[in-house]
Symmetry: C2
Subunit: 234 residues, 2 copies
DNA sequence: GCGCTTACGATAGCTTCCTATCACTTCCAT
DNA sequence: ATGGAAGTGATAGGAAGCTATCGTAAGCGC
């Protein structure tokens, strides 16, 4: 039981990563590609692909997570250290939209791109919560927004402006529109969040940022989660 | 060439409608159902299904359109005659969300539910434009929103709150949030719409409400469009 | 009513995703 | 270094979407 790798053999771990890299490459070429093609690109048999990822959806999720980890995590680390928190959210949405614009294959490969995006953004709940608190303390964002709202709103925006793909101008327009709704001087107090969501958010998001949505997708393995040092974003 | 039916034989037209009804029934039972199952339910062979609908996506689109026509059109007719236009938009989103909550099968059957929703809502551009103008004249909605924005914003909301399905409380919350962004006393003027969209909207939406997005889905036949009497919503 | 056109059912076959099996190889703890 | 656990490729096969064909039936213009 090699603690760092979750007890998996080194070759298995390597194959897993090669599969994700291969899928990422195939997706980047525009199409979703057959699973055989992806397995071939990774230099393994299709059976091995299925051993690591129970379905196309599962592989796609891993790829998406890998992209988010590479692109979003640095951005978040940087944002927390400095700058307007409201601006950071803007940056994150725009960055995400921009990179998804080049990832039509990934989107095509997702059976449910919206659910995927929502799940993955929820894994960033802790850093989002920190950013939100900063923004609210600076009176940049309305006080009745709660941490759980952030991944949800971001995913609604990202999905809504990726499918169908919006032009850069339209992206700016609708992102601005929604961000206008987050101003501190709002017209009406928001209706409350569903209690269930809040509780779930607290439980799965704040203690340790792993898979926030394991209940919806039990096959997802925790070892594939996005890992954030607890308290790193304070 | 029987003008009203677009020159199709009566039995073919009937089969088309039976197929839509059958699919609607199968979808309502929760699953997406195999196409053979749907064809069986309609009492026709699977080849006939493909003769009328080139793919599952095409059939799903027809079902979705049929639902929208049945549910949304009366609501729009009623809204235009009376009441707050802003309230009408609210009603439409909520109505749509409510009925989609019972249509998980339809959603599952859509390869791209977001594109479908966006396309279909765009077919209502004219009545939306009328409602918007009323709302703006009554200073209920910010003046820099344009007709084309309405279907887009509505589809973003509807899709974002249907996948993953949001609780009624969450739906109210996020609908309220976005509608707050549409208030007349907005913080910042919106960045402009993409010119291309505006032009396309004008061309395909305002002259005659048929298929607003024929360029993206050429296989859609005009005869299946949602028909609105020109000028009915004024 | 008649004949042409259109639409039909049945069926066979292709592709992709996915499951399952099995003999063989690689890794790793001891 | 070695035995056993973990991992692997190859492959066969099933389900579903989709295409294509063909002989037959039904609608429609005349």
């Amino acid at each position: 039981m090699t603690s760092a790798t979750g007890g998996r053999r080194r070759d298995a771990l390597a194959n897993s990563e090669r599969l994700i890299a291969a899928a990422r490459k195939v997706f980047a070429s525009g199409g979703q590609g057959s699973l055989e093609e992806i397995a071939g690109e990774a230099g393994v048999g299709v059976a091995t692909l299925y051993r690591h990822f129970s379905s196309r959806e599962s592989l796609t999720r891993a790829v998406y997570r890998s992209i988010m980890r590479d692109e979003l995590l640095p951005l978040l680390r940087h944002s927390c250290a400095q700058g307007s928190a409201r601006q950071s959210f803007l940056l994150i949405v725009e960055r995400l939209l921009e990179l998804l614009d080049r990832e039509r294959g990934l989107i095509a490969s997702s059976a449910d791109f919206a659910v995927l995006t929502d799940d993955l953004l929820r894994e960033f709940l802790e850093p989002f919560a920190v950013l939100l608190r900063h923004a609210q303390e600076a009176n940049e964002i309305r006080a009745d927004l709660q941490p759980y709202d952030i991944p949800r709103v971001l995913s609604i925006l990202v999905v809504g402006l990726s499918t169908p793909p919006a032009s850069p101008a339209d992206r700016r327009r609708y992102v601005s529109l929604v961000f206008d709704a987050m101003r501190p001087d709002q017209a009406e107090p928001l209706p409350p969040l569903d209690e269930k969501d809040v509780v779930e958010g607290m439980r799965s998001g704040f203690t340790a940022i792993r898979i926030a949505s394991s209940s919806r997708h039990p096959e997802s393995s925790p070892r594939e989660g996005i890992h954030v040092q607890p308290g790193e974003f304070g």
